[in-house]
């Protein structure tokens, strides 16, 4: 029982990271009907930026905030420069562009920082709580994720820009008629997604060790979590990510050794999707005839 709770809790911590990246994916999907396959690599690159700052003797949280700001701007620039030229192209074209971005970020990180694993500092002390039920690190990750989610919720619910972004994602033509600069809202969306991804990367790097391929597994799980929750639902992304984290941990501990863990987890989730093909919280895509 104790071990079960332990695994659930550490699964929630991993799930918090998946939830964050899943939220980034959903944010971009809602605005553009596109799954950004480069989200993981962008997050990895952001983490390297944080790492560089920390190595330059900056205090951790200062590096954290600066990295978030830089990632936000970077995300906006990517939308303007890389995505804008193909925004009216077929979806597959846009998908290929994100795959290209994925490769560019991965290769560039490898070139700048090499492929050796690097240690990434954790801002949380390394202790256990409640009789080894959970680690302070896991609590810290979950806390940071929670704070981020609350901040995002407040932004989207209570600010004019947040409302404008939601409106632009839902109905871009009507939003334009209300004077909303839909293009700018799109860029902001990418900025937010990049910043959220950076949080995910920084939270997971102490555990996975930093290298250019760090986020590829995380992206896979985040993608799964986002779909499990419903690709159009931010709440779903968070719930889905958490479920995937816990499932992955439990499957790995009780069912099967690491190798097939991913396959089994995926199959379990696909079974759920068979019963709910639009995810747990997703809405069916209405088709007008």
């Amino acid at each position: 029982m104790h071990q079960l709770l332990q695994q659930i809790f550490s699964g929630l911590a991993a799930g918090a990271v998946y939830a964050s990246l899943a939220l980034a994916l959903v944010m971009i999907y809602r605005a553009t009907d596109l799954v950004n396959f480069a989200q993981g690599e962008m997050a990895m690159f952001s983490t390297y930026i944080a790492w560089t700052l920390v190595n330059a003797e900056l205090p951790f949280w200062a590096a954290f905030v600066i990295t978030l700001a830089v990632s936000f701007v970077g995300g906006m620039l990517i939308e303007r420069i890389v995505i804008r030229p193909v925004e009216n192209a077929p979806i597959l074209t846009m998908v290929v562009v994100t795959i290209g971005l994925l490769l560019i970020f991965n290769a560039t990180a490898g070139w700048l920082y090499s492929y050796t694993l690097q240690e990434f500092p954790s801002p949380f002390p390394d202790r256990t709580l409640f009789g080894a039920l959970m680690t302070t690190r896991d609590v810290g990750v979950i806390a940071v994720t929670l704070v981020m989610l609350v901040a995002l919720f407040c932004f989207f619910r209570f600010t004019a820009t947040g409302l404008a972004m939601r409106a632009a994602a839902q109905n871009p033509e009507s939003a334009r008629l209300c004077g909303v600069r839909v293009g700018r809202m799109l860029a902001l969306g990418w900025g937010f997604a990049a910043a959220i991804g950076a949080v995910a990367g920084i939270m997971v790097a102490p555990v996975l060790f930093l290298d250019p391929n760090m986020m590829s597994g995380v992206l896979l799980y985040a993608f799964t979590g986002a779909l499990l929750g419903g690709i159009t639902s931010p709440v779903g992304a968070v719930v889905g990510g958490l479920i995937v984290g816990v499932t992955e941990n439990l499957v790995g501990t009780y069912l099967i050794a690491s190798q097939l863990k991913l396959t089994v987890a995926l199959i379990l989730i696909i079974i759920v999707l068979v019963f709910r093909p639009n995810g747990l919280f997703g809405t069916a895509l209405v088709r007008r005839v």
Partner: protein, 234 residues
């Protein structure tokens, strides 16, 4: 009579096909102009052309400005509020959020929302409900209120009576008339319901396959036997 909106020799294109073939149109300041015509005549296209949603040639003047090269967002910022065909309601947002986003470009949202709730009390009742849950008539009122949140100088309405019961339509039009008087908003209206529209409007234009075939004061058009037979049913 000063025209707040003037179209001169405006052509509009969907891709390679030309759908409007050089139309001339004017809306008086604080007046109401109605565009009549059968389906496919180009009425909605005209409205979309004004708001920069289709490729155009020709002149579109709004007050002192030329609109042809402007984006839809900019045109909305100049004070043109367009309620599109099908209302364009943000169904995933609440009534109140719909109004707020309408007032995105203008200021003093709370004050204006109070004003809107005054004109449309039913919206006040439903302010926290999802807009998608409202009835057709309520959504139409919401769409018009949303447009008015912009404190526009020109209100553009595309088929506001579409799919609504006659009593609801009358109620909506009465309110629009009232708003036009009290807020000094000019109105450009596209309507299939010709008799009601001609009763309220000052000027009218009749479009057919992308051309203006008749224009004049609303009274003159209402008395025109051709129009009476084709569009008014008697």
């Amino acid at each position: 009579m000063t025209a707040i909106l003037e179209l001169r020799a405006v052509k509009a294109f969907y891709g390679q096909s030309e759908v409007l073939h050089g139309i001339d149109l004017a809306v008086e300041e604080a007046g109401m102009t109605v565009l009549l015509g059968a389906n496919g005549a180009g009425k909605t296209t005209t409205l979309r052309a004004i708001c920069g949603m289709v490729r155009t040639e020709g002149e579109i003047r709004f007050g002192e400005r030329r609109l042809e090269r402007c984006t839809t967002e900019q045109i909305a910022g100049f004070g043109v509020a367009h309620v599109p065909e099908g209302r364009g309601t943000f169904t995933g947002l609440t009534v109140e959020e719909n109004l707020r986003i309408g007032g995105y470009t203008a200021g003093r949202p709370d004050e204006k929302m109070r004003l809107m709730y005054g004109y449309f009390p039913i919206l006040a009742q439903r302010r926290r409900q999802q807009a998608g849950a409202l009835s057709g008539g309520e959504q139409q009122m919401l769409a018009i209120a949303r447009a008015l949140m912009m404190s526009p100088r020109l209100l553009v309405l595309d088929e506001p009576s579409f799919g609504l019961a006659p009593r609801v339509v009358e109620a909506i039009f009465t309110i629009v008339e009232q708003i036009k008087r009290e807020q000094r908003v000019s109105v450009l209206l596209v309507e299939q319901n010709a008799s009601l529209a001609l009763e309220m409007a000052d000027r009218a234009y009749l479009l057919e396959t992308g051309y203006v075939v008749t224009s004049g004061t609303a009274k003159v058009l209402a008395d025109d036997p051709q129009i009476r037979r084709s569009y008014l049913g008697y």
